[in-house]
Symmetry: C2
Subunit: 553 residues, 2 copies
C-alpha cells in the first residue's frame, strides 16, 4: 500500500469555495486560506440559529494499544460512506499539534484512504489557530511576571503561579525551568515550566466558547495563581481578556477542508482528552449540525475518557447530544487487553480475556442511554476466526457491529458500518449523564469511579483533600469533573488491562480550569510536555525546490 | 486627527485578487488569505526572470528621537504619491512583530493616512510567517537538547550552545533561564534564554534566501554551538535543515496587501537592523522590481545601520542596487541631536548644532555613489523658520529636499518628494561599497568605523579578539560585517549626539551568523528580548462581538 502522503498527492481536490457552496455556506462568511482551506466565520451561526440540527454521531474506542486503533480514519471513512449512501454528512475533528509531527507520532489527519486534505498544511501550521493559542497563553505569563516585577499590586504568590508557559513543540528540556535570572532588569526569579499548547486552558476555552463575548467571559475566569493570602488570581484581575480575545479573533472561526473523497470536514481546536474535554470546538460541531444531515465527530482516547466527557460535560455545555455512538474496537487491542503484545499470531485465549474490555465499554455507554454500534477495524493480521468471535460476542449483547476497512478502502470499506449507524440513529434516545453537576464534588467522582471505572472506592491524597477545601471556600465545587488518567485502562493504572473491578481509584490532586468550566481530577501522572526521541521525525521531514513535502505520515 | 485604526476602518479596500491582477500576477501564484491578504508563490520569480527590473528607492533616516521619525509612513506615502503621479510603484516593508504590539510600541503598519491594511491582521499574526520562524527556531533547540540527552554523539559543549530559544513576545523573564531541571527524564540542565523571534538567525536567513534550495543551504550552515574541542556544530550536523525548510515552506512566499490608497504593498520578513541586516525579504523586493516601475523599500534604524547594511551587504547579496536614497529627517530629531528634548519651542541653536547629524549622513550616503533626496517630515510643532533653515542647509549641500506630510495627508503630502525622487532616479549611478568582503575582518571594521561612524580608532575587547582567532581558524573571516550598535548616534555611544568624531569605537564581541552569511560585530549591549512595561498595551487591546479590534495603534 502507498504511504499516506503518496495517497494524498494522488487525490484530486475540489476548490474549497465549491465545498463551501455545496453545503450552502454564504460566500461572505468564507475566508479563503489558499485554494483548499477556508475559515468559516463563526458569525454565520447567528444566521443559522433557527435551522433544525442534523443527527450527531460520536466516534470513540475501547482502551487501545499504544499504536492506536484508527478512530480518526473510522470517523473520516464513516462520514465519507454516509455521503456515498446519498445522505449528507460532515466530519468534525480536532486539529493536530505540530510538535508531535517532529516526534514519533507523525501527523494526525487520518491515514490511508481515509484522510483529510491537504494533509501537509493540516499537520504544519494549518490556519495558525494553535499559534494563536500559544501567543495568547504566553502573553498571560509575560503580564504576570511584569506585574510581579512592577510592584505586584495583586499580591501574587510567586510560589503559587499555576500558569505555566506554552509551546507547540516536543521539548522536554522546558518541563521544569527557573526563569528571570540575571538580576533586577530581568524580574523576580521563580520556578516555571512549559506545557505543549494543546494542554493550555486557553485551548479548552477556545473550543468551548459560543462566540467572542463568551470567549472573553471564560478567559476572564481563568485562575492563574493565588495571592499570598491564598485567594485566586484570575485573568480578569490582570485585565487582559480583551487582548487575549483579540489574539484569538480568527482562531475562533472553524476551518473547512475536505476528505480524500471531497466530502466536507471541519477541523478545529485540539484540547487534550485527559486534562481537558478532548473534542473539536463546539462552534464547529454546532455549525456542522446546522449544515448537514449527519455530523460525525470524535472524542479523544478511549470511551472512559473522551466519550464520558463528551456525554457528561460537552453535550450539556453545548446543548446537543449524540444520536449514535460508534465504538471502535480491533482484534489486536482486544488481544492486548487480554495480555499479549504479539498481534501476528492467532490467539483465541488472549482475545477471550481481552474482549471483557469491549463488554465493559458497551455496558458503560449504554448507561448514557444512547444507541451503540461497534466498528471492528480490520487489520491484515486478524484471522477470520478472531473476527468471527468478536462479531458473535457483540451481537449476543444485542449490539450492532460492522467490519470497517476505511483505512484500506475509503468509503467502500465503511458502507456496512454507515448503514448500521444510520439505522440506529433513527431510534429515539435521551442522554442520561452519569452524574449531576450539582452533586458534591466527591459524589460526582464516586459515581464516575463506580459506574465507568468500575472501582469500589476512591482514595484522596493530601493535596487533593486540600484542593477540595479550596474549591468549596471559593465556590468552585459546583463545576463538572474532568478525570485525567491513563488511556490504556478503564482504571487509573495502565497495567490493569481488560475489565478491572473492585479496586481503589486514587485522586492524587486537582486542578482548576475555571475558564473552561471544570475541575480536573488527577489520577496518575499526566505528561503535559512530550519529548523528542533520539532520532526524531524531523530528520525525515523534507521539502523539495517545488515545495513538495516528504517524510510526513 | 482620527486614530490610526479609525482611519483604517474608513478606508475602502479592494479585493486582493484585484490588486494582484493590477500588477499582472498570474492567478495560479496567488494564495488568498481572506479577501485582503495574499501570499504570492515565490516560484513566480522563475517566470519573471527575464523581465527588466524597475527602479529601487531606499528609504532611510538620520539618527532619530526615541519616538521615531516616520520612516515607514514616508515609504508608504512616497509609493502612493508615485502612483498618484501616474507611475507604477510598489512599497516593500518588513512585517511587524506581535510581541511589541502588547508593549509600549504598538503596531507597525505605518500610521495616519499612510498605512498598509488590514492593519489589525498585519499587526496580529498576519499570515503566520513569524510563527513559522518561531517554530523552526525552537525545533532546533529541542533537537539540540534531545541530542545531548541521548548520548551527545556530536560532543556538543553544553556551556557553548549559542542557539537560544525564541518567542514573539516581550518577555524579560525569559532572557536568562536554567532549563532541563527535574532529573534524568528532563535532560541535562544548562543555562539558556529566549530571544524575540525577529532576532532569530532563521528570520535573517528566510529574508535572504533566493528559493527553497538556497534556504536549506543557509539553514544548514547556521552554527548553533561548539564541540568540547571547540569545533563549530551546525544545523547540517543535526540533519534537520529539511524539516526547518518544510516548516518555513509557506513563510518564504511574500505577502501582498494594499496601502490605504489601494496601491500594492509587499510586507515580508522582519529581521533586526542591529544584529541582522534589517530589511524585508529579498524575494519580496526582487519580485516587486519585476512587477513595477518604482519599488520603495526601507531599511531599519538610521542610515549608519540599516542603509549601510543595505548597501554593503544586502545589495551585493541580492544583485540589485538602489537608484535613489531618501533620507528622512525631522526638525525635532535635529533639535534632539542638538541637545534638547523640548520640541515644542522654536530653538534655532539646537537646530544649528543638530543639523550636523544630517550633514554627516548625507556625506556618508554620497560615499556609496547613489543620489540622495532628503524628506523633511513635518510635525505640527515645527516653525517656518526652522523648516526654512533645514531646507537651505540641504540645498546648499547640493542635495534635493522636500517637505513631507504623508502622515497627515497621504499621497497628497508626498507629491513634491515623489517628483524629486523620480528626477534623481534618472541619474546614472554605480554602487561603491565602503569595504570589500575579501578585506581582512579588522580592515572591514576599520573602514566602517572611519568612513561611517567617524571614529579614529577601533578597540577590541578580549572576547572579540578570541572570536577573530576562531573565525580565522574555521574560515569564517571572509564574511561581511554587520555592526550591532546604538541607533541613537552614528557612534557606539547613544549619548554622543550630532556629529561625533575622533573617538575610539569599541568592539565588545562578535557573533557568527554563518547561515545568513555575516559576522555580527557587537559594539554595545544589544537587547534581544524586550520586556512589557508596568501597564502594557494589552490592557487597551480589545475585540467586540462582531470581531472589531480596538486599542491598536
Amino acid at each position: 500500500m502507498l504511504s499516506d502522503i503518496e495517497i494524498a498527492r494522488k487525490a484530486k481536490l475540489k476548490k474549497i469555495t465549491e465545498i463551501a457552496k455545496d453545503i450552502n455556506i454564504k460566500e461572505d462568511y468564507v475566508h479563503q486560506c489558499g485554494n483548499y482551506i477556508a475559515k468559516i466565520s463563526h458569525h454565520y451561526l447567528r444566521e443559522l440559529k433557527d435551522k433544525k440540527d442534523g443527527k450527531l454521531i460520536l466516534v470513540t474506542a475501547i482502551n487501545p494499544t499504544p499504536a492506536g486503533e484508527g478512530k480518526t480514519t473510522t470517523s473520516i471513512g464513516l462520514s465519507m460512506a454516509i455521503n456515498k449512501l446519498g445522505k449528507k454528512s460532515i466530519v468534525t475533528l480536532r486539529e493536530p499539534s505540530l510538535g508531535p509531527v517532529m516526534g514519533v507520532k507523525g501527523g494526525a489527519a487520518g491515514g490511508g484512504y481515509s484522510q483529510v486534505l491537504p494533509m501537509e498544511d493540516i499537520n504544519l501550521h494549518f490556519t495558525g489557530d494553535i499559534h494563536a493559542v500559544t501567543t495568547a497563553h504566553n502573553l498571560v505569563s509575560a503580564v504576570i511576571d511584569a506585574h510581579i516585577k512592577y510592584g505586584n499590586d495583586l499580591d501574587i504568590d510567586e510560589t503559587r503561579v499555576f500558569w505555566k508557559r506554552a509551546m507547540d513543540m516536543n521539548d522536554r528540556a522546558l518541563r521544569q525551568i527557573v526563569i528571570a535570572l540575571g538580576g533586577h532588569a530581568n524580574g523576580n526569579p521563580r520556578e516555571d515550566g512549559f506545557i505543549i499548547t494543546a494542554a493550555s486552558e486557553i485551548m479548552a476555552v477556545l473550543c468551548l466558547a459560543e462566540d467572542i463575548p463568551d470567549l472573553k467571559r471564560r478567559l476572564q475566569n481563568i485562575v492563574v495563581a493565588r495571592t499570598r493570602k491564598g485567594k485566586p488570581v484570575t485573568i480578569g484581575d490582570l485585565k487582559i481578556e480583551g487582548a487575549l480575545a483579540a489574539v484569538l479573533k480568527n482562531a475562533i472561526d472553524p476551518n473547512l477542508v475536505q476528505t480524500i473523497e471531497n466530502t466536507p470536514a471541519f477541523i478545529h481546536g485540539g484540547p487534550f482528552a485527559n486534562i481537558a474535554h478532548g473534542t473539536n470546538s463546539l462552534i464547529a460541531t454546532k455549525m456542522a449540525l446546522k449544515l448537514t444531515d449527519y455530523v460525525v465527530t470524535e472524542s479523544g482516547f478511549g470511551a472512559d475518557l473522551g466519550a464520558e466527557k463528551f456525554l457528561d460535560f460537552v453535550s450539556p455545555t453545548a446543548g446537543f447530544k449524540p444520536d449514535v455512538i460508534v465504538l471502535v474496537a480491533t482484534v489486536r487491542a482486544l488481544k492486548y487487553n487480554g495480555g499479549t503484545k504479539d498481534f501476528e499470531q492467532e490467539n483465541m485465549e488472549a482475545l477471550r480475556n481481552g474482549i471483557e474490555n469491549l463488554r465493559v465499554h458497551i455496558e458503560n455507554l449504554r448507561k448514557f442511554g444512547i444507541p451503540v454500534v461497534v466498528a471492528l477495524n480490520r487489520f491484515s493480521t486478524d484471522t477470520d476466526k478472531e473476527l468471527e468471535f468478536v462479531i458473535k460476542f457483540v451481537e449476543n449483547l444485542g449490539v450492532k457491529i460492522a467490519l470497517n476497512e476505511a483505512f484500506a478502502k475509503g468509503s467502500e470499506g465503511a458502507l456496512d458500518l454507515a448503514k448500521k449507524v444510520l439505522e440506529e440513529s433513527e431510534k429515539e434516545s435521551e442522554l442520561k449523564p452519569i452524574y449531576n453537576w450539582h452533586d458534591p464534588l466527591e459524589v460526582k467522582i464516586m459515581k464516575l469511579a463506580k459506574e465507568i471505572y468500575r472501582a469500589s472506592h476512591v482514595d484522596y491524597e493530601m493535596a487533593a483533600r486540600n484542593k477540595i477545601k479550596f474549591f468549596k471556600k471559593y465556590g468552585y465545587d459546583h463545576l463538572p469533573v474532568i478525570v485525567a488518567k491513563t488511556q490504556y485502562s478503564i482504571s487509573d493504572d495502565p497495567k490493569k488491562l481488560g475489565a478491572p473491578s473492585n479496586y481503589n481509584f486514587t485522586i492524587r490532586d486537582f486542578e482548576l480550569s475555571a475558564g473552561a468550566g471544570f475541575i480536573v481530577a488527577l489520577a496518575g501522572e499526566i505528561m503535559r510536555m512530550p519529548g523528542l526521541p533520539k532520532v526524531s521525525n524531523a530528520v525525515n521531514l523534507d521539502v523539495d525546490a517545488d515545495g513538495n513535502i516528504t517524510g510526513l505520515f
